[in-house]
């Protein structure tokens, strides 16, 4: 569904004689050179933890809004949604809608309050009034788990895409390419820190939204800008205009659709790499502005996906897309080739690659910051790490995470990656969102409730996925030949998210710990920004 097997897409492309390797390398190199210039320029200030993690909170709302869009619009959004709409029609549109509506929660409930109460990581907010070490540990574990699954999917997708760009088809060559992608990403993070990474994301957002706009206008021009005619052609080719083609088969698939919709809409405000972006601006008002920019950019992009999906169905045809061994993921590149030939295919593939690289860099910086700031400094050294050590640890963590992602990406190459992205969203919505909302809006919430909700959410979500048809017992599973599944839904959100909210309440009420005094300070700071504003600039 999202980024299943991109290496086979390369074979399909080759079989169809699409693409020009030299041109692709040139476009791709131009992107790498352009971003490296920004990263190296940013490196001059990349010395302190504050610079490394949040660029000294020096970005404006608009810059951060573009960067959030760059962080959020992953390959799943571009290749995945266009492909899902091209193959199943209306049901694929749910992704666009869920991914967008989710931002209402981020804007109204989370962004500003989080900016006012934390400095670097999600754990800053969660541990504000709790027993610091256990809560930080739990939040860091959850951050690392979510980031790891997200990373794995992006890395495997990167391998396939670059293989397409550079026309490499054997698995050893692709493994080398994945290693190269990982190495490049480590360089971005180490050299540029959050500032360099943010510039990469801003450039990528502009390229991606620009490419989607170009293709949308191009598709519509073919239909004399009559959207209804485009839909008619898409539907005639097989992309349904009515809901239910994919999820309307029986009672279980219908529930699965609802479960997916819950995970999509509640996952965003719990994604650690998105939450961390709110710390890169100086004030809550700038955090608000950045989310507003992000909503407009992301919303616009998802409107384009509708045209791209039905356009791919109408102009390329679902049979040809499905027959391309990369299936759904080939929809956008094949549409680009259909419209603008080799040149547009090269541009769109390079943009898709830039997309993955930027997301991977954002995830790596979040995961390494969480390890260094939460585990190393605050849990191991109880907040008093030797001078300069934390940045060093963060850099080492980025290298380790990069290497783990490279090996994970090589192992997951050609695997069912959609499942990893859905897992990341479900884990984020279950383990992170309840604790964030309780921390900000419920003064009785305490350490036990926090730990039960995070660990309970993690265990339930990962457990249900292991025993779901996404892992075993179905044709599209990771292990299609075995069957240990007993949980009927591919996405566990409908069960795991309410369970984690409940665990947070039960854990809190069964503990005698009362933290209302600390909660008072947190509440005042969250709403007024007292003690937070401008402070990050001093460090």
């Amino acid at each position: 569904m999202i980024a299943t097997s991109l290496p086979s897409l390369a074979r399909a492309a080759e079989a169809e004689q699409v693409g020009n390797t030299t041109l692709n390398i040139a476009i791709f190199s131009a992107f790498v050179v352009l971003t490296l210039v920004f990263v190296i320029r940013a490196s001059r200030t990349n010395k302190s933890t504050s610079q490394m993690y949040t660029a000294g909170a020096s970005f404006t709302g608009r810059q951060n809004g573009f960067a959030i869009s760059g962080d959020y619009l992953s390959a799943a959004s571009f290749l995945g949604i266009a492909g899902a709409i091209a193959l199943t029609g209306y049901d694929g549109f749910l992704y666009s809608i869920g991914f967008l509506v989710a931002w209402v929660i981020a804007l109204l409930l989370v962004a500003e309050l989080l900016r006012n109460t934390g400095r670097f990581t999600m754990a800053d907010v969660l541990s504000f009034r709790m027993q610091e070490r256990p809560v930080r540990t739990a939040a860091a574990v959850s951050t690392l788990v979510v980031s790891f699954f997200y990373l794995l999917a992006q890395m495997a997708g990167a391998g396939g895409l670059v293989a397409l760009l550079l026309n490499i088809n054997d698995s050893f060559g692709q493994a080398l390419v994945i290693a190269g992608v990982g190495a490049l990403m480590i360089v971005y993070v180490l050299v540029g820190g959050m500032k360099g990474t943010t510039y990469v994301q801003i450039i990528k957002a502009i390229l991606l939204i620009g490419a989607a706009l170009l293709m949308t206008v191009w598709v519509l021009a073919q239909y004399g800008f009559n959207f209804s005619d485009l839909l008619g052609d898409g539907a005639a080719a097989g992309a349904a205009l009515e809901p239910g083609k994919k999820y309307g088969l029986d009672g279980v698939t219908k529930i699965d659709f609802i479960s997916l919709s819950v995970a999509l809409v509640l996952g965003t405000a719990g994604l650690p790499h998105i939450l961390m972006r709110f710390y890169t601006v100086p004030t809550a008002k700038e955090a608000r502005k950045s989310v507003v920019w992000a909503i407009w950019l992301i919303g616009l992009f998802y409107l384009f996906t509708l045209t791209l999906g039905y356009g791919a169905a109408a102009l390329v045809g679902p049979e040809r897309i499905a027959a391309a061994p990369g299936a759904a993921n080939s929809a956008a590149p094949l549409l680009a080739y259909e419209l603008g030939g080799t040149l547009l295919l090269g541009i769109v593939s390079a943009v898709a690659f830039a997309t993955i690289l930027a997301v991977v860099a954002g995830l790596t910086i979040t995961a390494s910051a969480s390890f260094a700031h939460d585990i190393y400094t605050n849990v191991i050294h109880r907040g008093k790490a030797p001078d300069g050590q934390e940045v060093k640890v963060a850099r080492i963590a980025a290298i380790v995470i990069g290497i783990v992602a490279i090996f994970g990406g090589i192992a997951a190459n050609g695997q069912n990656i959609a499942f990893l992205v859905a897992l990341a969203f479900a884990v984020a919505a279950s383990a992170n969102l309840p604790t964030i909302l309780y921390s900000l809006f419920w003064k009785r919430f305490n350490t036990r409730g926090c730990l039960w909700s995070i660990y309970g959410g993690l265990i339930i979500t990962v457990g249900l996925i292991v025993f779901s048809p996404a892992v075993s017992g179905s044709e599209t599973a990771m292990f299609p030949d075995q069957d240990w599944s007993w949980f009927p839904l591919a996405n566990p959100g409908l069960v795991s998210i309410p369970a984690s909210f409940l665990l947070g309440i039960i854990g809190t009420l069964t503990s005698k710990e009362h933290l209302e005094i600390k909660a008072a300070e947190m509440e005042v700071r969250a709403l007024t920004g007292a003690g937070a504003e401008g402070k990050a600039l001093d460090h």
């Binding site: 809608i97 005619d229 205009l241 809409v265």
Partner: protein, 120 residues
């Protein structure tokens, strides 16, 4: 370890700094800000989510209604889906307007007073 910390934090005497924050929290100005904030964001978030889940449920269980064509090939489902975009944009703009007018001046005033007292 956790046990002793729990009983410690169950009834500690507030420090001077904590008492100051508790006083700010109890002040009518802050309570008004809190009310204005919650009374807007909670219902608005709830409404957006209800609208979203009505759409999801209609797509699942009211397929005939969603498939009804309105004009050309545009059906109810597509319009309902596009209305989700409109709703998101409308909530966003309305919130920015509300926050600029009602929330920001109030929070800035409280913050300034706290800074004048050396609290922040």
């Amino acid at each position: 370890m956790s046990k002793s910390t729990e009983s410690d934090s169950a009834s500690p005497a507030p420090t001077e700094r904590e008492a100051a924050y508790i006083a700010v929290l109890a002040s009518p100005e802050f309570q008004e800000l809190k009310r204005k904030h919650r009374n807007w964001v909670l219902p608005a978030t709830g409404a957006a989510l209800v609208f979203y889940f009505v759409y999801v449920l209609a797509s699942t269980y009211a397929v005939d209604f969603m498939s009804e064509k309105l004009f050309g090939n545009i059906n109810v489902g597509l319009v309902f889906g596009l209305l989700q975009f409109v709703a998101t944009f409308v909530v966003t703009m309305a919130y920015v307007r509300y926050a600029d007018r009602e929330l920001d001046p109030r929070s800035a005033k409280i913050r300034d007073e706290m800074e004048a007292e050396g609290l922040a």
